[in-house]
């Protein structure tokens, strides 16, 4: 499947230039800016909030990866059959979730989730 997928992606990109006519001219190669001449550089500064979102995403995604492992371990038949294991894992997760929620509340109070 990987071979087919990559093959398709590369094939259509390689074949296409031979099929279409190529008549470039300087005006056509200008970056599109609603028809007026380009102003300044396109690689301008980016709003800093986007970096913050990426950081928050990393934190939460890591947390979710841990929760997935926990969910599988708790519902695994041999584990769950051990008396007290379910209760134990729930207590562990409660502590983990509490830390996660405190973190979320802190981010919220600090205004990390605001966009204005």
């Amino acid at each position: 499947m990987f071979v087919v997928a990559v093959g398709f992606g590369v094939f259509s990109l390689v074949v296409s230039p031979f099929l279409g006519k190529m008549k470039p001219n300087p005006t056509k190669l200008e970056p599109y800016e609603c028809g007026i001449p380009t102003v300044g550089t396109a690689r301008s500064q980016i709003f800093v909030r986007f970096y913050l979102v990426a950081l928050l995403f990393l934190l939460f995604d890591m947390e979710i990866v841990y929760i997935i492992v926990w969910a599988l371990a708790m519902t695994y038949k041999a584990n769950a059959a051990v008396p007290g294991f379910v209760l134990y894992s729930m207590i562990v997760m409660a502590i983990y979730m509490a830390i996660l929620l405190i973190g979320l509340v802190y981010e919220w109070k600090k205004g990390a989730l605001e966009w204005n």
Partner: protein, 482 residues
């Protein structure tokens, strides 16, 4: 097989397997490769056939909603438009504007399409062929039973291209790779619109992926597995076993996140044509543009397929049809076949297997495709700050609380089942009552959230505050363009 002469193909396929076996070294390899190739051909080919028609359907429905005929030039009722658009895009001129980062610019469309195709290979479109039915199929195709059959090299054929144990985790990982394609397309284009579109898309997809994962976590807790076939197996038996009843809030979160992940309206800020001309694909033309387009639609089908798999029982119908004859007639499918003695049992076996991939699964997926199309026609686009606050301040806390409640219910159920005589082996599935109570509680909390938290006076105050904020706020695009 026992009570009548088994039907067989009039010719043998063995020469084909021998030939591939010589090339790949060993006939076992030949069987594995040919089965995989056949599945890729059927699933990927089938999907690529339907996408032009999905696009046509979308244009038709939007036209119908906007009181105009929609595309109607090529072919009767315009059914050729989708196909001809693809052909046209192949023959268009490739434009490489000056100042682009050439390598990334060329790579980006593939980076969108390849993960989409790779995620596609996990979508379970039909049941696993195994046991006596696989033996019957191998007999019908005149294949070597030591190769294809119970106990053979290929002892089961799942109707998905692959069926790894980490299933849903792989889908999550691979689909999020698509962010790279869109971001790099936006960045490498040397265009302000593209950059804004790419950055917006990456932040948006990343934010809603958390919601998506939280929704999936509920299902993982309920089914206790990452394997997509096992997730479907836990929903077997009828619509009352579907996870949508046990996890309605997770379903709602998943659907919302699904729209955001595929960059569809009302969350299509990445390509918002009214503000960013084309968004991240402004500078793309010809086949490179077509790949973005294709990737978007393949992604739509994949997330719809995932939603069906996780919440709506996958390829199983609302009522389990095959349980009725199997228990009523001794001898399973062969017994059923003897009831219709004119029809060879292999035909009935195949028909029962094809009901899922050809009827039920496409029907459920197309429900979501229609949802995508109607949402695009009806809903206005959200503002970017609204999008972010919806993702981080609404859906994330809802998802976490939903997860906690689900975990408590599942853990309680697990502990109770383990304490019953016979333990978990006698009661492998979560009780239906637990599922229904869980569903009712989470849905009630979700719907009654505002009423629980806010008094009417406070709600009114919040609304006025929000309106004032809305009036005074700068448009985020202005803040970005500075």
């Amino acid at each position: 097989m026992n009570n009548q002469a088994a039907l067989q193909l009039p010719f043998s396929l063995q020469p084909l397997f021998d030939f591939v076996g010589q090339v790949t070294g060993g006939s076992a390899n030949a069987f594995i490769i040919l089965v995989a190739a056949l599945k890729i051909l059927l699933i990927l080919g089938g999907l690529l056939q339907t996408i032009p028609f999905i696009i046509l359907l979308e244009r038709k429905i939007i036209g119908w909603i906007q009181d105009r005929p929609g595309p109607n030039r090529a072919g009767p009722l315009g059914i050729l438009h989708g196909l001809l658009d693809g052909v046209k895009l192949f023959f268009k001129e490739e434009i490489m504007p000056k100042g682009v980062d050439k390598v990334l610019f060329l790579m980006a469309p593939s980076l969108v399409v390849v993960p989409a195709f790779l995620a596609l290979c996990l979508v379970p479109v039909g049941p696993i062929i195994q046991g006596r039915n696989l033996a019957a199929l191998a007999n019908f195709l005149r294949l070597d039973p030591t190769m294809v059959g119970p106990g053979g090299v290929i002892s089961q054929i799942p109707m998905a291209i692959t069926n790894p144990n980490i299933g849903i985790l792989y889908v999550l990982a691979i689909t999020s790779m698509g962010v790279y394609g869109i971001t790099l397309a936006g960045w490498s284009s040397n265009n302000k619109w593209s950059l804004l579109g790419g950055i917006r898309a990456s932040a948006q997809m990343v934010s809603y992926e958390i919601t998506l994962s939280l929704a999936i976590l509920s299902v993982i807790l309920l089914s206790g597995s990452l394997n997509l076939y096992q997730i479907i197996e836990t929903q077997r038996g009828g619509f009352w076993n579907w996870h949508i009843l046990a996890a309605p809030v997770a379903f709602i979160l998943f659907v919302v996140a699904m729209f955001a992940e595929t960059n569809r309206l009302p969350f299509d800020l990445a390509e918002a044509e009214a503000e960013l001309t084309g968004g991240f694909h402004t500078e793309y033309s010809s086949m490179r543009f077509a790949l973005f387009f294709l990737g978007e639609y393949v992604n739509m089908v994949i997330v719809a397929g995932m939603c069906v798999t996780l919440f709506l029982g996958g390829f199983y119908g609302p009522i389990q049809i095959e349980t009725i004859p199997l228990t009523a007639l001794q001898g399973g499918w062969d017994g059923l076949a003897s009831q219709f003695s004119q029809i060879p049992s292999i035909i009935i076996t195949l028909a029962s297997y094809l009901l899922g991939p050809l009827v039920i699964f496409p029907a459920k997926v197309s429900f979501f495709i229609f949802l995508f199309i109607f949402a695009r026609a009806i809903l206005p686009r959200m503002r970017y700050d609204q999008l972010m606050s919806l993702g981080w301040k609404r859906l994330l806390p809802i998802g976490l609380i939903n997860l906690v409640i689900t975990a408590i219910a599942v853990a309680g159920d697990l502990a109770y089942r383990a304490s019953l005589p016979g333990g978990l082996d006698a009661n492998p599935h979560i009780f239906l009552a637990t599922k229904l109570i869980l569903g009712a509680v989470t849905l009630g909390l979700f719907l009654g959230w505002d009423a629980l938290i806010f008094s009417p006076a406070r709600k009114k105050q919040l609304t006025t505050e929000y309106r004032n904020l809305e009036r005074g706020a700068d448009h985020p695009a202005q803040a970005l363009a500075q």
